[in-house]
């Protein structure tokens, strides 16, 4: 284990391993074949170091398996945010960071030369002007420093606002950050804000909380920036079956990003995008995207965005399907039976969960939901949450209707004790 470090240079490998430890929980050392055993050992040790008690090792009949076992609904901090606290750096990086911020702590404005001299005089720290210039430029971009040009000379000063100042000045903000630190829109930024102010969340919890989303956040800034700038992006993806390499199903795509879609029921997040090469919309799973790179501006972005919004009227979940499929699909019609007097909670459920569907009362105890969806499979997956209430399934296509009937037969056999056929 010589040369082991808790810190990492890039996020890719780690994202991959942590996700597998968390999502599957049954994989052994030998199951991680996409990289060497040494890599597995390092990643496992790193995960143990970052995550402490939430990482478990169990001895199964197949061997020792590593899992991240968390009751995500009852945690006050997302343990996976730790991955964002592990970026590697050089000795110069940390030294220059501490000294620069100390030198400029008095609010003074200084030139590069004055800063280089100040570092030498006050801390006996000799840095090349080139090194300092690079750091000043980087910290200006990150917002730690403010640069003013006076003629041709750049003057630098420290940005005056600190987290503590903000929390003290804006009543309720610290609690808001506590709450948002568990959210799936860059919760790790909230966690870092709390830590830098010496605060903790000990009040807010999240139900239906998919903590693994934080690992996908690494991709989002590029995507969101591209949406803002109306640019395309180049996506490198991998398929579910061979995540270790860009295979035939994975590969590289030019895509025009539209929106980040998230499902609070399946735990997945997607990038909805237009694929110019295929002239259609598609939803890419974020956890199957390796990298995102900005590409060219898209001239007709607004027209595509309009078309996207129109498409959404037929998207029940995230599937835009393919046009050839759409032609064969009719609106799904699902009829449910319940007693409106004593089981009005079913009507409430239908009303709040119908999404693009329309609901109408079609009998004294019958309600019919009609959903004109591109992908009837998505409607049927949801419909199965109402098993025990479905009187009739119409529309969609014959395959979907038959699949539902077959599934119910198999489930009936399964729970009635009779043997059932293999699934297809």
């Amino acid at each position: 284990m010589a040369g082991f470090s808790e810190l990492i240079k890039s996020f890719d490998k780690t994202r991959d391993y942590i996700r597998d430890f968390f999502i599957y929980g049954f994989k052994r050392r030998g199951d991680f074949q996409r990289r060497s055993s040494r890599t597995y050992d390092d990643e496992k040790r790193r995960a143990e170091s970052w995550l402490g008690d939430v990482l478990c090792a169990d001895d199964s009949v197949r061997g020792r398996q590593i899992s991240i076992s968390v009751d995500c609904g009852h945690i006050y901090e997302n343990p996976l945010c730790q991955a964002y606290c592990a970026k590697s750096f050089t000795d110069n990086d940390i030294r220059l960071h501490m000294l620069l911020l100390d030198l400029l702590a008095d609010g003074s404005t200084r030139t590069l030369n004055e800063i280089v001299d100040g570092l030498l005089d006050q801390y006996d720290a000799a840095f090349e002007p080139q090194t300092v210039r690079g750091k000043l430029k980087e910290y200006t971009a990150e917002g730690l420093l403010i640069t003013e040009m006076r003629g041709k000379t750049a003057y630098y000063r420290r940005s005056p606002e600190t987290t503590q100042d903000f929390f003290a000045q804006y009543d309720g903000l610290a609690d808001a950050v506590r709450f948002f630190s568990l959210g799936d829109r860059f919760g790790e930024i909230g966690t870092e804000l709390l830590r830098s102010a010496g605060l903790k969340n000990e009040m807010f919890l999240r139900k239906h909380h998919y903590i693994v989303h934080t690992l996908e956040d690494i991709l989002l800034p590029e995507i969101l920036e591209a949406i803002t700038e109306q640019r395309a992006v180049l996506l490198r993806t991998f398929s579910a079956k061979s995540r270790e390499k860009a295979d035939a199903k994975g590969g590289t795509f030019e895509a025009v990003p539209m929106q980040i879609l998230s499902s609070v029921q399946t735990g997945r997040r997607y990038l909805a995008a237009y694929l110019p090469a295929e002239r259609r919309f598609h939803a890419f799973r974020l956890d199957f995207i390796r990298t995102v790179k900005p590409a060219d501006p898209v001239q007709d972005y607004n027209n595509l965005a309009d078309a996207y919004r129109r498409s959404l009227r037929h998207v029940f979940g995230v599937s835009f399907a393919e046009r050839k499929d759409v032609r064969n699909v009719k609106p799904m019609r699902l009829t449910f039976r319940f007693d409106p007097q004593t089981e009005d909670f079913i009507a409430d459920r239908l009303q709040r969960e119908k999404r693009i569907g329309t609901l109408s009362r079609t009998g004294s105890d019958l309600y019919t939901l009609t959903a004109d969806a591109f992908d009837p499979n998505e409607v049927m997956h949801w419909a199965k949450t109402l098993i025990g209430r479905i009187v009739a399934v119409g529309g969609g296509n014959a395959a979907v209707r038959e699949k539902f009937r077959r599934d119910i037969r198999r489930m009936y056999q399964m729970y009635g004790g009779a043997p059932h056929d293999d699934l297809s």
Partner: protein, 329 residues
């Protein structure tokens, strides 16, 4: 601007905390490393902070004659807000739930302070595809007032007299000690975890939907929880986990693992069949929600136990079979 930057890292945080004191002992330094760092940081960080004869340390401390470590900096480090953090805060100002935390005046003042900052995202860049449509109204003044009373009560350990309608429509007016607020993005609702306060004692734990609260009155009674939240949550758990066998058909294992990722669970794979057996622990109050979520997988998974849980699944399936095929086998 990047979210994966060393300045947000544990080692920088450790160094900043150590430099927060003009002088520090080696022992105190190691304690900070243990508190702020990762589990193994104590193997790597102290030697980078403590001056080394070969100069391999970070050069931030000097050893004094008394053996203490003195910082070479002059001030306790204060990290400015980064652009990324400001952009994140600006984005959060547009989320409806923010209204629960900030008054309109505070929100306007913060917005003004961040007027030149571009938000990290706008609400329309994200879409939750399956959130329920009857979410709570976070702009409702009464809801906002209740929310703030609850937050203060949790912080102060104050018992509240709460009048609310239960899920069954019953009106309840009782004293509770709140201890946590839970938000569900699926439901778009907050629920209050609390303990019933009766005759000076705390009993059981309950959940109250904030949207069903009609009135909250402060009682002025303050007391500690007596039991940790972890103990209280554990007491709400099922006594026996649900055991499920998931088949690999229709990518069932992967789909199941993703969808149930938020549950505490233990899984084991049978390599011969590709089936995965999962034990899953849940809050007893969520049993019906779990049941319908499992049934939505169809025959891809089978609920093996406990018998009472399996029987509930079987009952629903039998009812569905009768509705579709007109008879039960």
């Amino acid at each position: 601007m990047t979210i994966f930057h060393e300045m947000y890292g544990a080692y920088f945080r450790i160094a900043a905390k150590v430099l927060g004191q003009p002088e520090i002992s080696e022992q105190a330094l190691r304690q900070i490393v243990q508190q702020e760092g990762f589990r193994d940081s104590v193997l790597f960080v102290p030697q980078k902070l403590i001056p080394q004869p070969d100069g391999s340390d970070w050069g931030l401390l000097r050893r004094t004659d008394s053996g203490m470590l003195r910082r070479i900096t002059q001030h306790a480090p204060q990290m400015p807000l980064t652009l990324l953090q400001k952009r994140w805060l600006k984005a959060k100002l547009s989320e409806p739930v923010m209204q629960l935390f900030l008054s309109d005046e505070t929100s306007a003042a913060l917005n003004d302070a961040l007027r030149d900052i571009k938000p990290l995202y706008t609400p329309e860049m994200f879409r939750t595809v399956d959130a329920f449509s009857d979410c709570d109204d976070f702009s409702d003044p009464l809801y906002r007032a209740h929310f703030r009373q609850i937050v203060q009560a949790i912080r102060n350990g104050e018992v509240l007299l709460i009048r609310f309608r239960s899920g069954g429509g019953e009106r309840i007016h009782t004293r509770f000690l709140p201890f946590a607020l839970e938000y569900s993005a699926k439901n778009g609702k907050f629920r209050l975890y609390c303990r019933r306060f009766r005759a000076g004692h705390l009993t059981g734990t309950g959940l109250i939907n904030l949207g069903r609260i009609e009135k909250i009155t402060l009682t002025g009674i303050r007391m500690s929880q007596q039991r940790s939240p972890a103990e209280l949550f554990a007491a709400r758990k099922c006594t026996e986990p649900v055991t499920i066998r998931v088949t690999p058909a229709r990518n069932g294992v992967e789909r199941f693992m993703m969808e149930f990722a938020s549950y505490e669970k233990h899984s084991e794979l049978d390599t011969a069949t590709g089936c995965c057996t999962v034990q899953l622990w849940y809050d007893r109050q969520d049993e019906t929600e779990l049941l319908i979520q499992l049934l939505s997988f169809g025959p891809v998974l089978e609920i093996l136990g406990p018998p009472a849980f399996r029987a509930k699944a079987a009952e629903r399936v039998a009812k569905q079979y009768a509705l579709l095929f007109g008879q039960q086998c």
